[in-house]
Symmetry: C2
């Protein structure tokens, strides 16, 4: 008799957490880190200056524009975008190393960035996070002190357009007010279920 | 502003728990009932006589062969099979009622029965339960007091053939010795993740 019944190793996953600004993507990832879940959380590279309290390697990889340009030239970014005058992106080598160590890799991306990853890596698991309603999203964005009335209006309009892209994503999770742990539980269930698929996704970068 | 961002009601699922004899399907379902999980567990109809302690409506629906024949004629069975001289099957109306009440419906079927359901109801979620190895499966079957050496050999051979059909299933869960709760947790994660799919499965009977 053979020892193994069915060859089914646990391939590490590339999980993209996305959704409009204000739905709680960062809060969900922060809660996952607090709960010390056994995932690798991607550290985004950026050319902007660190804000007070931000730590290189933990919050962001703070790079010079020269360094960033070199990564673009070497095709060493999975995805990148210009935000105002600065760049941010996902270093390929970091993700490659994490996957090679067998860890599931989680990254937070805006809706456009998620679309880029999906096109480049069809095996990525994409999760769209949402609020219950547009009103709640507007309220959440309004409580951000940094928002002027104009930029708030712009963000709400952008969020509304981005919601129309939800069907491009594999999964849809509503992050209800005050239920962040349930949101995290759903993301964990999705990851566990993906590992149980008979036909597993396999990532190569 | 519209109130709802994306119409995504929680459609009830039809979940088939399958796999070779001896992998622990019944034990997993029993544990789920003990944990009082909010699922509807299908009660199989059978024409065989109740064994001591078995309760009609809880363990099985005990039907006469006449009653069973009538259900076949009325196309009121989702699936049925002849086991030795007796019949067993899944009453359609029971599943329909449970789904209409909004509950996820779980049923235990052998590998052949699962294939029948998959063909009839493409939206069904199919989970293949397995042991780690063929040796462990043979051991588990051997500990069943009811098995003669001949019938044991037959079951092991059948299990080996059935393992070859695992790729027809959506999910694959290894039920490790002594880790029944982890097996149940995985089944629960699969159900939760299926509810989070952007493109949900919808069942109609």
């Amino acid at each position: 008799m053979t020892e193994t019944l069915f060859k089914h190793p646990r391939y590490p996953l590339l999980v993209v957490i996305s959704g409009p600004s204000g739905v709680g993507k960062d809060a969900a990832l922060e809660r996952m880190k607090e709960r010390q879940l056994p995932y690798y959380f991607v550290v985004t590279a950026t050319t902007r200056a660190p804000r007070p309290g931000e730590v290189h390697g933990r919050d962001y990889l703070f790079l010079s524009k020269d360094q960033f340009a070199e990564m673009i030239e070497q095709d060493e970014l999975l995805e990148y975008a210009v935000v105002y005058d600065d760049f941010k992106g996902v270093p390929k080598q970091q993700v490659r190393d994490a996957l090679n160590s067998g860890l599931d890799v989680l990254m937070r991306l805006d809706v456009q960035g998620a679309a880029t990853i999906r096109a480049a890596i069809p095996g990525a698991v994409t999760i769209f996070i949402s609020t219950v309603s547009e009103d709640e999203l507007a309220e959440r964005l309004a409580t951000r002190k940094t928002e002027t009335a104009e930029s708030l209006k712009l963000r709400v309009a952008t969020a509304r357009r981005e919601m129309q892209r939800v069907r491009e994503f594999d999964y849809y999770v509503i992050n209800r007010q005050g239920e962040l742990d349930q949101t995290v539980d759903k993301i964990m269930a999705i990851i566990e279920a993906e590992h149980c698929r008979t036909h597993q996704r396999q990532i190569s970068l």
